[in-house]
């Protein structure tokens, strides 16, 4: 089995076990306010980090494709205009693809 397959299976089963823990663990553990706050902040910090890495990581050094950045910026404008996920996604890839075609 390739390392990628193994990583996929570990992560997938791990995510399932987290769901199972939620419906199995005693309430007192998961209901603790500090635990809840950390859990609430985790996706915020990590999604934000993922945005940064997707935009600026060129494989261990900083790199930036201005066409990708322009596409994501167009997506941000869509978010500011309260558009849904699908519109944001389509605008971002459309702008990037168009700029790539033209440049």
């Amino acid at each position: 089995m390739s390392p990628l397959w193994l990583a996929i299976l570990i992560a997938a089963v791990g995510c399932y076990l987290l769901k199972l823990a939620g419906v199995s663990l005693p309430k007192s553990i998961l209901n603790h306010p500090k635990v809840q706050r950390v859990a609430q902040f985790l996706p915020i910090a990590m999604l934000s980090a993922l945005v940064a890495v997707e935009l600026f990581d060129g494989g261990g050094s900083y790199a930036l494709d201005w066409r990708t950045l322009a596409g994501v910026a167009a997506g941000v404008i869509a978010l500011l205009l309260r558009r849904g996920f699908l519109v944001v996604f389509l605008i971002a890839i459309f702008v990037t693809a168009l700029l790539r075609l033209l440049s």
Partner: protein
């Protein structure tokens, strides 16, 4: 026999709406996953077994950054932690026991939780959970497969797919940023990741941002704690 559930039609319509939204979301996942170097089979195992959107996107995002694929495992797990917290309200609604618990757990995600807890009676809550879960699961798989096949047919960079992953992460993040505290955590997470890009192995910058959440969560606060499930779906 029980009387028919009065809210049945309303819940079913909402679940179908969420399902189609998830299908589009799943299609973007499928395409991005192929663009990140996974095969169609690997993409589908993630959708079928992991079955939690943000973790799936994070896994392929980190896997695409090169280095060991195992660096993507903790990123997916940390993002999947919120599903554990959904178990608290859901256990009181569904009372899963024994083997039912193993089956129920798989469907504990943002959307099924949000739909269940927003109903007013226990019966409506149970119906909303299962309707949303099963419709969404089916359409999520269909969307993932379609997206993966499209992603295989074209060059991802040609259709601008490299902009899709950061745009998707931003769209997921956006509704969580209503509180100023959340914005500070987001800023901190991005800065930690940026600082580590040139010095840490792939995957570590995203993981290290979790420390910001830990510090932010453990600091004393004057604001009341917001309920974990009080969030927008997806």
């Amino acid at each position: 026999m029980d009387k028919p559930l009065p809210e049945r039609g309303t819940i079913l319509r909402a679940a179908i709406g969420i399902g189609f939204y998830a299908m589009a979301f799943g299609a973007s996942f499928g395409a991005i996953s192929i663009g990140s170097g996974l095969t169609v089979a690997q993409t589908m195992v993630l959708s079928l077994v992991m079955f939690t959107g943000a973790s799936q996107f994070a896994f392929v995002g980190v896997a695409a950054s090169g280095g060991s694929p195992f660096a993507a495992v903790p990123a997916a797990l940390l993002l999947g932690m919120r599903n554990a917290f959904y178990g608290v309200p859901l256990s009181e609604i569904l009372h899963p026991r024994g083997l039912t618990r193993l089956w129920t757990a798989h469907f504990v995600i943002d959307e099924s939780t949000a739909m269940a807890i927003s109903q007013s009676t226990q019966r409506a809550k149970r119906y909303a959970f299962w309707t949303t879960a099963l419709i969404l699961f089916t359409l999520w798989q269909l969307g993932s497969l379609t997206g993966a096949l499209i992603g295989r047919a074209v060059d991802p960079a040609d259709i601008g797919l490299d902009a899709a992953a950061p745009a998707v992460f931003l769209a997921l993040l956006w509704p969580m940023l209503r509180h100023p505290e959340a914005r500070w955590v987001a800023l901190g997470g991005a800065l930690v990741a940026l600082a580590l890009i040139p010095i840490a192995p792939p995957g570590i910058p995203v993981l290290a941002s979790g420390i910001v959440a830990l510090i932010g969560g453990l600091l004393p606060t004057r604001q009341p704690v917001e309920q974990i499930h009080d969030k927008d779906p997806i």
